[in-house]
């Protein structure tokens, strides 16, 4: 044996060389497959998140079309059988919703079943036709040509960092517009640069707009994509939103992006609570820090989802017993939401009682409402803070209103809204409601506020149809003024 090896050393070595190169070829193939699958997998996650959160119904982009193919294919993928399907989502999209199922998506992306789709994906990516795939290194290398990015070999991330330093410099110079383009370069170089999305969006929606004046309505411009009239400030908010959305598509499993989008922009800047709740809910679905759920519950409360907020708070206390939030903050919010629930229910019952024909039933409803009303009052008493005081005053005002003592009710609310800043908007709206009901003329600023809230603002570049609709609804509102 040994002699044989010694005698035929050279031949054996040539054999080893050939064998190892063959094995290398096989492995090359295998790893190429894995990398292609990785690119495809990332794209599926991006497309799924797009479907779930951002996509329009009639999206005809290449991404949407290819994703449709993939979802159709996923129906036939055996391991996906018996998976629950979310309403309004495809099967693939439903599975992609849960980050714990990422391994299943990966196995799908890698499976031989998805081979054709994978090839289609790579072809489209090569042609740079896929929006969500431009960031994928593999696809980019495949795109070919002397691409500046590729000259960095694997060092694109460092380049991204250097670009970021430049972004920072522009920020300090106050050159916000140039900063924006550079930020895009930065995340193109390193699509996983989470902090760039976060800080970039923060700069755009907070710092850049801090110095800007509000744009008067007539000077605002219609934005077709968001279907809104945007002024200078709002445009920056939406730049921030777009930037974060891009980040979310590329990093669908990072809660920070959802959180900043929901809390940072939708809640704090746009006061768009439904959207805030939407994104914050996404954020807590992923592994997150402790302080994230709190903002979701607050937004749910602001959005009128008192039940959800209540559940959330209770769940939070169970999950993190003894934490500062659970001990000091949660109990107050739990009571607040309980009180709010009682109030809402009572008011709903009263309203129903008015409309119901059966006097007995109405009487029963009224008594139920009265009981709930009392419960709410007890809760506010127990709460014993400015918020509770405000609520109590509001309940008094509503009772006065029932008795037809409109002016007193308005006076009480007026006091309450100045005492409890958090409730100012709500109470102002209520005052207007009472004034309308009592045929008391509205002040000029109240009229304006009513009109604005009813989406009647007109701006340049609006489609004619929209302009007519808004003008008509403005007329309706104006006609109701006394």
């Amino acid at each position: 044996m040994l002699d044989f090896i010694k005698k035929n050393q050279t031949a054996l070595m040539i054999l080893v060389l050939i064998l190892s190169l063959t094995a290398g070829t096989v492995l090359n193939h295998k790893i190429r497959h894995l990398r292609e699958s990785e690119a495809f997998y990332r794209w599926i996650l991006a497309a799924a998140v797009n479907e779930r959160l951002f996509q329009d119904d009639d999206d005809q982009s290449e991404d949407a079309l290819l994703f449709e193919r993939c979802t159709a294919l996923a129906e036939n993928y055996a391991p996906f059988d018996n998976s629950p399907r979310e309403a309004g989502l495809s099967l693939l999209g439903s599975i992609a919703q849960n980050y714990e199922d990422d391994k299943r998506i990966w196995s799908f992306a890698e499976s031989s079943l998805a081979k054709e789709e994978r090839i289609a994906f790579l072809t489209l990516a090569k042609g740079q036709k896929l929006q969500f795939a431009t960031d994928i290194e593999y696809a980019e290398a495949q795109a070919g040509g002397v691409n500046v990015f590729n000259l960095f070999f694997g060092f694109r991330k460092v380049a991204a960092n250097l670009v970021w330093l430049e972004v920072d410099r522009y920020w300090h110079q106050g050159n916000v517009y140039r900063m924006q383009t550079l930020m895009r370069t930065c995340v193109a170089l390193d699509p996983q640069f989470i902090e760039a999305y976060l800080v970039g969006a923060w700069h755009l929606s907070y710092n850049a707009t801090a110095q800007l004046p509000d744009t008067p309505w007539p000077q605002r411009e219609w934005n077709a994509r968001h279907e809104q009239c945007l002024g200078e400030k709002e445009r920056f908010y939406y730049h921030g939103i777009d930037f974060l959305r891009e980040g979310i598509r590329r990093n669908p499993r990072n809660y920070k992006l959802y959180f900043d989008l929901g809390f940072g922009i939708y809640k704090q800047k746009l006061e768009d609570y439904p959207n805030a709740v939407k994104y914050l809910a996404e954020a807590i679905r992923l592994p997150h820090d402790r302080w994230v759920p709190r903002q979701l519950f607050i937004c749910q409360e602001l959005n009128g989802q008192y039940g959800d907020a209540l559940e959330g708070w209770k769940d939070y206390v169970d999950r993190y017993p003894g934490s500062m939030t659970a001990v000091e903050v949660a109990p107050r919010f739990i009571m607040r939401n309980e009180g709010l629930l009682f109030e809402t229910e009572a008011r709903l019952l009263l309203k129903n009682a008015k409309s119901t024909a059966n006097p007995g039933e109405a009487e029963q409803m009224r008594s139920q409402a009265a009981a709930l009303w009392e419960k709410a009052r007890d809760t506010w008493n127990a709460l014993d803070d400015p918020y509770g005081e405000g609520r109590k005053l509001m309940m008094d005002a509503l009772e006065l209103r029932e008795e037809g003592r409109y002016l007193e009710a308005i006076a009480t609310l007026d006091k309450a809204r100045w005492d409890t800043g958090a409730l100012f908007t709500e109470f102002s709206a209520l005052i207007m409601e009472i004034k309308q009901e009592a045929a008391i003329p509205l002040s000029v600023s109240e009229k304006k506020a009513l009109l604005r809230e009813s989406e009647v603002g007109l701006c340049s570049g609006m489609p004619e149809e929209e302009r007519q609709r808004r003008m008509k609804s403005a007329e309706t509102i104006e006609s109701s003024f006394h």
Binding site: M13, T25, L27, I31, Y41, G144, F153, L165, N251, R253
Partner: protein, 276 residues
């Protein structure tokens, strides 16, 4: 057992000697000091970033710069040491004293190759250790992903090292194989372009172009592709939507070992009848 110790005792001695000798090279120490400076200095570059923004950008900056520094300086160290060990031994004639001993050429090569790997590993550990400390001090948690990154980086270097070693066996001075090694490093990173060549060559339909395309395809299949190791940059930052890295890492390790064997076989075939 006895046979094993006689077959591998020699190579191991050569390896230890190579390590002790190689680790003292001035150029290598220079590279090492430079890389350590960069890693150390990366903690200061963060002062360029807006301190009012309370984010992890500085952390990311440190990670990216350090991984890159390790990749670049590590590659330089790898290429230099792999290219110079054999030619330097020929130059100083130490090779005569060793090959005239009962050490066969394959044992000698094996020993040298192992010694080179020892040097690379020690250098990587030094760089990685400092990087680890820098992160640990700043972050307060063990950056274990970093270890995976360093681990993969080594296996990338193993491929470069094996082929540079093979080239150096044919040379008599360290300079030429060092340049060739750098060339290997760069081209192995650009293997992906062969795919592009194939794609373009197929467009004209002429015989010559098609032949070139075929050659490109063959080379693309056979040659090692170092871009496969680019996930080492990715895992340091550890994003939650990264695909399961545990799928990729074992394959990459195997990949690297296979090409290391191929490189070593080339080295042997070059060196077997080399007249020193």
């Amino acid at each position: 057992m006895n046979y094993l110790s006689s077959a591998f005792g020699g190579p191991w001695c050569v390896a230890v000697y190579t390590y002790r000798e190689g680790i003292r090279r001035k150029l290598l120490i220079g590279f090492l000091i430079l890389s350590l400076l960069v890693i150390f200095g990366s903690s200061f570059i963060t002062s360029f970033v807006d301190p009012t923004a309370e984010t992890d950008i500085d952390l990311k900056l440190i990670k990216d710069i350090c991984v890159t520094a390790i990749a670049i300086f590590g590659a330089l160290i790898t290429v230099y040491i792999s290219a110079s060990v054999i030619p330097a031994e020929v130059e100083t004639k130490v090779i005569y004293t060793v090959l005239s001993k009962p050490v066969s050429r394959v044992q000698y090569l094996l020993g040298k190759f192992l010694g080179i790997q020892l040097i690379i590993i020690v250098n990587l550990l030094l760089m990685g250790g400092l990087f680890f400390m820098a992160l640990y001090i700043r972050q307060g948690i063990m950056p274990t992903l970093l270890l995976w990154s360093i681990f993969l980086t080594y296996f990338e270097f193993l491929i470069i090292s094996a082929f540079t070693f093979a080239v150096s066996c044919a040379a008599t001075s360290p300079l030429v194989p060092t340049l060739q090694g750098l060339f290997i490093y760069i081209t192995a990173n650009l293997t992906e372009y062969l795919k592009d060549v194939e794609h373009r060559a197929g467009q004209t339909g002429q015989f010559l172009d098609e032949a070139i395309g075929k050659i490109a395809t063959a080379l693309y299949s056979i040659l090692p592709n170092l871009q496969n190791f680019s996930i080492k940059m990715q895992i340091v930052n550890g994003q939650p939507n990264d695909p399961p890295t545990d799928v990729m890492i074992p394959w990459l390790v195997l990949y690297s070992l296979v090409y290391a064997v191929a490189g070593f076989a080339c080295a042997y075939l070059v060196f077997r009848r080399k007249e020193v």
